[in-house]
Symmetry: D2
Subunit: 329 residues, 4 copies
């Protein structure tokens, strides 16, 4: 088993604001600077970039910065959650805003082509509702699908991945689970739309991330993933492995037995921590997980799972998980 390739959303190296610390937890970090910082982590091969780039950076400057940092783009994520899309992007009640969202997606598609990235990543964080009775549920779900269909059908040469999430910033988001995402993609009826599974989103949405991954794989739709951690009640975007060690391992185990060989990406929001140190600590943990995957007794685990034997499977897992860290790592 070769070492995994690591990646990260570029926002892992940004500074952050929230509704209380409105002056931000740190100074602004530009797109180009984020790329430079990502390059210093040391184990990253690819990044997922927000678009538009900040501070007027041009596509050429971004390409140069990526090259200088020894990184390539795996995906590009349009900012369809900023102010003008605050009441929705594809599902905005105002058709003019919906058009703006589509237009931004078209631009993003061009950027993906130009960067040679794998996919346009669509995270429709503002598409949903806040209150009971606020929306007609049929109509809003139709808008969500129509927007995706319009943009994906216009770029049949590109891949689009939807990153589902139960909620935040809307009280309820439309693309909220693996099953709902698969269903929506089927309803759209195009074969260039897939899913990016965020471990933390699955976890706090009440899914088993491993089960969600398997369901997506069985439908041929797991086209990307990222990892982080939380306390199961919110999308805390903590360091990987800081809370749910066993379930992270089960997630990667599921990828492995399905021969899924994509990039292991980070999606963390280190509001108060050093962004590079956070990424390194998570990758250090992921390398340990990778060692555990190499040492696992797969035959015995398969047999235990065939019996649905919780005790035997836990022991097999603990044997490798609780001995996977090298102190010199």
């Amino acid at each position: 088993m070769t070492a995994p390739r690591f990646g990260a959303g570029l926002w892992n190296f940004a500074s952050y604001v929230d509704r209380y610390a409105t002056d931000g937890y740190a100074d602004h970090v530009s797109t180009l600077e984020q790329i430079r910082i990502a390059g210093t982590v040391g184990d990253l091969s690819v990044v997922d970039l927000n678009f538009p780039f900040s501070d007027g950076a041009t596509l050429e400057e971004v390409k140069d910065a990526l090259k200088a940092a020894n990184l390539s783009a795996i995906g590009v994520t349009p900012d369809i959650y900023l102010r003008r899309f605050g009441r929705g992007a594809f599902t905005n009640p105002d058709p003019a805003v919906r058009t703006q969202a589509i237009d931004l997606l078209h631009e993003t598609a061009e950027v993906v082509r130009s960067l040679g990235a794998n996919y346009v990543k669509v995270w429709p964080g503002q598409d949903g509702w806040d209150y009971p009775f606020q929306v007609n549920h049929h109509d809003i779900w139709k808008l969500a699908k129509d927007g995706m269909r319009e943009i994906a059908s216009a770029h049949p040469d590109l891949k689009f991945v939807i990153e589902y999430k139960p909620r935040e910033p809307r009280v309820k988001m439309l693309w909220d689970s693996a099953a709902r995402s698969i269903l929506g993609i089927q309803e759209i009826g195009l074969d260039n739309i897939g899913v990016l599974l965020d471990f933390g989103h699955a976890l706090y949405g009440g899914e088993s991330p491993a089960d969600a991954a398997q369901l997506l794989i069985d439908h041929g739709l797991l086209w990307g993933m990222d990892v982080n951690d939380n306390l199961r009640g919110w999308d805390d975007d903590l360091m990987v492995g800081s809370v749910h060690i066993t379930e992270v391992f089960e997630f990667f185990y599921t990828l492995k037995i399905n021969n899924w060989e994509g990039v292991w990406q980070l999606d963390q929001f280190p509001f108060r921590e050093d962004t590079v140190d956070t990424a390194r600590a998570s990758i250090r943990f992921l390398k340990a997980i990778h060692r555990a995957l190499e040492e696992l007794d797969y035959d015995s685990l398969r047999e235990a799972q065939a019996r649905q034997d919780a005790i035997a499977s836990q022991k097999l897992v603990q044997d490798v998980l609780l001995s996977c860290m090298r102190k010199d790592a």
Copy 2:
């Protein structure tokens, strides 16, 4: 708008046990006695019966009891969650137990035919897992679908409805949401399998019950429903309207604008309350909801929802909801 027909799971009139009060919260109530009690509620037209019947009651006795109580059967729910199915019914690791589950379903199908009920209700409460790594997620989901396919394909003249639920008694259940249920039914590929939506299951699973209902209706799969309430963290099966007044109303509003005209069924577990009084209090509330539905300004609400106007829609809703109770009711 004519008055709705009311129904109830027959277990609403049983006695209950839990893992602490192992001697039960009240004396045992037999199937025949439950039917008699259900008949005293006064507003019930139909019941959903557990099968096998308790205390050796025969099908003929049950028919007679239903007739005497002026009730008919809307569905029959096989007990695929008792001890022998404790480690799973359709997904039991032991093929012999899976066969027992299928056999019980065949028997249930006969009972449905004989009673002239609408459907076999399948609630696979033991089909799932408790621990990370306990199961192979692909295999167990396949078992769940295979079981449903086998039984539904054997009885093409009958309808089968799956009642999904996020968890309990298993830590995680397979048929856990509206979207997953639709997806699974599509994978099975038969047209005599639908869904029974339990309001409380949707609520504590993080769904909007109204949205889940709409999704099922849009797929032609909302074949039954029942209502109750909870605190969003567990399937408390409390009286309807005791907590989530607005969302109950949104649920019935959604049914109405889709011309869904099935039975309004109760699924409550009054561990410590009088079972008949509980049913009556819930129906009293539901009649008030029905009045609110009659008085709602649909045009204005539609316009508010087209604007996704939370304030206007809340006001329209509060106008009728907070004036729907008649003190002489």
Copy 3:
């Protein structure tokens, strides 16, 4: 029963940012402008002001603005959650930052005196932790109490209220519940520290807001409150009455039977709605709640509660709650 006095946190009339819509959901609104807007709501008597005031507004300008808007200050809330306090205010690992927090509190105390407000409101949103093993739990709780003791003992003529909250922006906050707050205040040992109960914080922290209010009243510590709503999983700060009608009513019922006669304050974050309309809609609902309080059959409810009779109490409550809205309101 005379009509309640209404109040609001001045931030109800601000614009908002979150970690995604980093450009804010609307244009910046200055302190002075927020006061002017609050004055247009029409039913507000008092406001709780953030300090420092924005855009260089002076205390005299604020006083003039309040007078012009026909408002007075009920409390002042220091901004101990902005960037410099991102890793904690009273519990910051850096003693210099802790001193800055204390200094800001001293300034706030002067403002409270000058405005003739009722209290300094302390909401230590950054005091807590994010990760397991990040803090020594004894030491950090001691810092939290020491900070409160230092500032409250320095101003024995003033009242300080702590607004507890389970989490956000920290993954876990120290002052997280009514019971913990009472305990901490007892440990501090001063009689000029009380509690401001936020209905939504209690709700999503797993408390019954009514029960939390009663506990605080029984300890003589309920010195302020505000209301809003959420889906029990996060501090959504939605309009009052949009979700939990019955529990809002139980909360005010509890205040009434204890003769608690403080201001009914709003704490809402209308990210996407008009701020004045939101406040008006909530007050419209609260006036209906007030009517329901007037019409409630207290004797019968008391008797039902003495029997712990859930059915009887629900009926008594629904009788007045579902008939409390006047269409001409």
Copy 4:
């Protein structure tokens, strides 16, 4: 650091029922048989026994069984949650039932004396409420405290520990958190009442178990504990270490730095697993945790915590936690 002493609630070796598998997940196991089975685990020194004993077992028979199994009693837990106490034990609306609860506690006190156990364990699972408006919150909390005061003051030579829990079987329990329990014990005003902290109860109640332990220790009230695991949404009573490895470790770390030297007890409900194998697997994990405690770099961790340095502390913890399992264990 010497090896910990292990214990278990005797119910770990019982069979279980829930509201669905009403015929139980396995055959009935008598008290005497549970003791015999507990003796076969091999690492248990003490058990906590339910009282009354089942199947007519006498106190002498229990003593003999304990001796034969090489076990002693750490505590005795009266069954104040069976049918007759279904609507409450100390808080039952019927004074006659309250008296029955007190009487059962008196009997239990005698058993504790006779067995030489450490404490009477009080788990008032039925003391609380299910519905908004069902109870007067002041009155019911007073009943809860009065019951504890009456029984503890009658037996000043004995210790009583309250095991708090947020909910289940009641929708809401009164003794629901560490802080509330400390507060209630202070209000009672006796020095022979303490707390037994259940790791899983703390976890799913939104507490950090380590923080709850520290708070109790700082008040001199952590008199017992037991461990298990869950998914943070319910009291699943799973095997220790199956989900929350890091937080279990933080919990024991907190006990260690406070020189807390009580028994490490199990409280698991292996509905579907072999009860002895479940206990052994958990103890195997706990022994690994104990090794990690021995190898931890306490000085460095203390320094990291003084800086509230999440990254450094996670690394120190992962170093020992992910290398604590011996394959020959």
